[in-house]
């Protein structure tokens, strides 16, 4: 298949999927932290969360990827000698990719999660407090489980954008399916064929994600009465 490049591209597709999933895990943690910060009554925490979301969402993904990947590597190597470490430090592109994507999409998710938390009726948290739960317990036992239902539509969107944005990591040399397709295209001089194959694979990935998340949304809305318009 594809002049024998089919299997390399599928390997790349696997890496793309792993990259997207691990980045999403990092982004969820950062997004929850960001949302908790922004909703916090402590002024400077709220400001910190707000700055993170605004600045990251105001800069293109590609610029952030180049900044964190090349700039971050450069910074580490400028700072390391000051700490008495003289070897050149090479950052693994997969790990750098995961943290870059996680950091970027954490900002987008913090916005999604913040909206979802605000959609929960106030009485829920008050009832939790009335039962004698502390802040952490109210957050994890009462708010997070209910927030998920409100967050799924926004989350679906964020996940689709993230999956597609992973293609940009190929620009800094991670051997994902985009990178593999580029090498194959250069070797065979058939760029259209290979980029079309990659487009089809991305389409499969996004379609499957859409179906899975739609199912999840149904699951989390069990017992919720939808208003008939």
């Amino acid at each position: 298949m594809l002049n024998g490049y089919g299997s390399t591209i599928l390997d790349g597709a696997w890496l793309t999927l792993i990259l997207a999933l691990t980045s999403m895990a990092v982004a969820i943690v950062l997004g929850l932290l960001g949302a908790a910060f922004r909703l916090s009554p402590i002024k400077w925490l709220a400001l910190l969360g707000e700055t993170y979301a605004t600045v990251i969402r105001g800069i293109p993904d590609l610029v952030l990827i180049l900044l964190i990947f090349y700039g971050g590597q450069d910074m580490v190597n400028r700072l390391a000698p000051m700490l008495g470490y003289d070897d050149y430090i090479d950052i693994n592109p997969f790990i750098a990719g995961v943290f870059t994507m996680g950091f970027i999409f954490g900002a987008y998710l913090s916005e999604t999660f913040r909206g979802a938390f605000m959609a929960i009726p106030k009485g829920q948290a008050e009832a939790g407090a009335a039962y004698g739960m502390n802040g952490m317990q109210v957050f994890f036992r009462i708010l997070v489980p209910q927030m998920i239902r409100f967050a799924i539509p926004g989350f679906t969107n964020n996940w689709l954008v993230l999956t597609k944005a992973t293609a940009l990591i190929s620009v800094v040399g991670l051997q994902d399916m985009m990178f593999k397709a580029k090498s194959a295209a250069d070797a065979t001089r058939e760029p259209f064929t290979f980029y079309l194959a990659v487009a089809a694979l991305y389409l499969v990935l996004t379609s499957v994600s859409l179906l899975a998340l739609r199912y999840l949304e149904k699951r989390y809305s069990v017992g919720i009465k939808a208003a008939d318009l």
């Binding site: 105001g58 800069i59 293109p60 610029v63 700072l79 689709l160 985009m178 487009a199």
Partner: protein
């Protein structure tokens, strides 16, 4: 001193011309994209599957694949075919600016069409019934009632799309154009100062984003004043 900003200062003209390139690509692709999006959006609200399906397929495929892949398909991919290389259009398809604008316009047309379709579907029933009661033809109904109000109500979502497009134009730097990101990549590789170079690019984009947000706020105040919450 670990930061070196003198180089950035000397290369400021490169960044400024990059801002010009970014804005040029952005305006061309938005204008063409919107012109495509209006017929597509109208197709998307049609009840006839023959009209609706092609538009649905178009927006689904474009929105389901990465911008980078679409750009590469047009810029590198089309050259694979002899018919393209020998056609009269080849001077256009071998130009990075043309391909970038084309790819971005196609991309934004799909997203804008969905925004417009959503906004058309949200038109209050009464407005359409009133227009019919006045004896308007279908064409007149769309021209006078549906489109003007749907386009206005789409403004907040469209502003998001415009900002996403501003960010998308940074991909033009991958196909050799010297936009803001391209300027930063040039500076970064010439002087090996990636951190300073890309931070500067980020600041430029941040400023442009804030300006766009501000402009759309003004536009909303002008065209959506009737939907604003009443002042106490």
């Amino acid at each position: 001193m670990i930061f070196d900003y003198t180089v950035i200062w000397e290369n400021l003209p490169l960044y400024i011309s990059g801002v010009g390139v970014t804005l040029k690509i952005l305006l061309i692709s938005l204008a063409c994209g919107l012109a495509l999006a209006i017929p597509l959006g109208l197709m998307r609200v049609s009840k006839s599957p023959l009209v609706n399906f092609p538009a649905w397929l178009y927006t689904y495929v474009i929105r389901g694949t990465p911008m980078l892949v679409q750009l590469f398909l047009i810029y590198y991919g089309l050259a694979q075919f002899e018919a393209v290389r020998e056609s009269v259009l080849w001077p256009y398809f071998s130009s990075a600016t043309f391909c970038a604008c084309l790819a971005f316009a196609i991309n934004t047309s799909a997203y804008s069409a969905e925004i417009l379709a959503g906004s058309l579907k949200a038109t209050p029933h009464g407005e359409i019934e009133a227009a019919k009661a006045m004896g308007m033809s279908r064409f007149k109904l769309y021209r006078r009632i549906l489109l003007p109000s749907a386009l206005r109500r789409a403004l907040p979502q469209y502003s998001n799309e415009v900002i996403m497009m501003l960010h998308t134009t940074s991909l033009a730097s991958i196909v050799t154009l010297i936009d803001i990101t391209g300027a930063a990549r040039t500076v970064s590789s010439q002087y090996y100062l990636p951190f300073e170079a890309f931070i500067t690019a980020g600041l430029f984009y941040l400023c442009l984003t804030f300006i766009l947000v501000r402009l759309f706020k003004l536009a909303e105040r002008r065209w959506l004043a009737y939907l604003a919450p009443r002042k106490a």
